[in-house]
Symmetry: C2
Subunit: 357 residues, 2 copies
DNA sequence: ATGAAAGCGCTAACAG
DNA sequence: CTGTTAGCGCTTTCAT
């Protein structure tokens, strides 16, 4: 059936020798329209706004689609309508588990409405962000979701100039490019310090990935700990260890071992990820240090395994699913001409109190 | 500068009232060409095959690009050239850590050559695979990377009909749609059984996610175990527990506890993922069961944490990075008209012998 | 080495 | 409700 159609179309056009191309040979809307006995635009309407055509036409077009195996060319559609139904997401790396939940729910929420996700990895060193941005803008996506705040002024300018709706996530700023779904890393640092203080910790420490957001959590944590007297008086900060992002179990183990060497008396560690915390738990177990009796451990992320570790991990929970869903909704609202009410959201965080601290 | 240009272009066309659209207002190749004093096609050549134009022209075009902030519209380019520079990847879910390494390296390898990844989630129940396929084919990607073998005959047919290069991964089949980068799940089951046998295990069990590939690993493992006498003679299979995919630490803990209730004498567990294995390790520790002395544990995936657990996890290693890189290369070779030598690859696996078994 | 013409496959705008 | 026309922004084909 398909072959026959293709041939018929080819015959139609082959006789006149002209310039231009002869296309890819795949079934087009024109073929469908011809088979259904209507104009291409009518076939287009039957597919995109079925209620705008008569039932008879709808039937015949749908039948023609079925018989030809027609799949709309969204490149062409996107070019004509300036609606690509593509959304780009930028994450430091998909290899870290931290953003999985967000990416998952984003993909899901978009797919439900016929949008597709394009994934870009910026790396933690922001080296490729520049080239990535061109690759993204060039596809004219209906929206861009960034992990974190875009810091480079040039990047901000280019995104702004492109006119593409942008959602920055996982952070707060007074001057977002456009929309924002995030939370305060500073407040997290403070909240964790206060929580550990309540639990009676006297000498806290931290292990952090070397990315901007983790460092800011640490700084706030360190300041608050100082203020609460959970560190050597007059020190510049608490004992801490910085590791390469993305963080791993291995660096958590090594981090604890180093911290203990320099500061054997610490009684709590705040880790910038649950993976690091798992490393700390592992090392503590290997060293025979009881958690939380001798050492309290707090993670960040509330990854799926945190709840079921032994001891169960106390950690900071970020609702990654909410981030993904909100970002998706913001962008689809914009793309479809609806206005976004309250486009700057602080979704907060919570400390999940479990056994490790 | 940009505004001035846009205005100039607008003036050109505003006078004659005509049908059609007035575009998006963003800078086009025409604008660049006009500013550089050349024809659009020449500007196009300057950007896409710089060696085909004179140095002077090249210079002026590049300058015009810089001054206007022009970003090529790849939708238009793709439509005209039938090269979208987009590659689609389908994974069951991005939330499971198993495919991260592959997706990461795939994204990376593609980006290096100006290709972009589109991500689709099929879910483990393959429910949405159908709609997803249309969404993918509709974008006319230069290639599709599937996780696992496409089982639905209809899906195979549609992909084949689309003419898009396809790489199936993470499995083997005698009849791939097109290209293939995988390994044998049956052989893994057998190899793990033999390994545990060598280590002196007498009564093995398994905990598996309910996805097809895990089940096949289990079946082969179970058969081999029977053959090697590591189970009750004349039994249909070994003790096993099936859990929902994606697998979690929690289901690993629960799995072990159930297995021990029914079969207290087991001395080894093969888990269909490292996450499950971590759960088994955790539960064993909570129960005071020494690993590997009383219970050997083998995982699957060699996730980043496996090496550094305590005890270090013996597991099956799949080179996810190689899968991603090979898939990327296959597709780019095809897209750029090079032929792919040996487009069906078994990349094998290895058992990483560590402390847990 | 450069350019003019002709489309790629689709939809917005306008007209019946 | 349906059709005609004119593009979307780019590249292929053919000609110079």
């Amino acid at each position: 059936m398909v072959e026959k159609l293709n041939k018929a179309v080819a015959d139609d056009t082959a006789e006149v020798k002209r310039r231009g191309r002869r296309g890819t040979g795949s079934v087009t809307l024109r073929d469908v329209a011809k088979l259904a006995g209507v104009a291409p635009i009518t076939a287009s309407r039957a597919l995109n706004s079925p209620s705008a055509v008569s039932p008879l036409v709808l039937e015949r077009v749908q039948d023609a689609v079925r018989r030809t195996g027609y799949v709309p060319n969204m490149l062409a559609g996107g070019l004509a309508s300036s609606k690509s139904r593509l959304v780009a997401a930028v994450v430091p790396t998909i290899a870290g588990p931290v953003f999985q939940e967000s990416v998952h729910s984003l993909t899901e929420a978009l797919a439900e409405h016929g949008y597709q996700l394009m994934l870009g990895q910026s790396g933690y060193r922001n080296s490729r962000e520049d080239a990535l941005l061109d690759a993204i803008i060039g596809r004219r996506p209906d929206g861009v979701v960034l992990t974190g705040i875009m810091r480079s002024a040039d990047g901000r300018r280019r995104l702004l100039a492109s006119g593409i709706p942008v959602v920055e996530t996982w952070d707060l700023t007074a001057t977002p490019i456009d929309m924002l779904v995030g939370f305060s890393h500073e407040n997290i640092g403070i909240a964790v310090a206060e929580y550990l203080h309540e639990r009676g910790c006297k000498q806290v420490a931290s292990i952090n990935g070397n990315d901007d957001r983790a460092v800011r959590r640490h700084n706030a944590f360190s300041q608050a700990a100082l203020r609460l007297g959970m560190a050597v008086p007059d020190a510049a900060g608490i004992p801490s260890h910085v590791v390469q992002a993305p963080t791993t179990l291995a660096s958590g183990r090594e981090g604890l071992s180093r911290l203990l060497k320099d500061s054997p008396d610490i009684d709590a560690v705040f880790c910038s990820s649950d993976m690091l915390a798992l490393g700390v738990l592992t090392e503590a177990q290997a060293l025979g240090i009881p958690v939380p009796q001798q050492l309290a451990v707090c993670g960040f992320g509330d990854l799926s395994f945190a709840r079921d570790l032994h001891p169960a991990l106390t950690t900071v929970r970020i609702d990654g699913t909410a981030i993904g869903q909100l970002a998706a909704r913001f962008i689809m609202d914009r793309a479809e001409g609806r206005s976004v009410e309250q486009p700057i959201r602080d979704i907060g965080f919570s400390i999940v109190r479990r056994d490790s601290a």
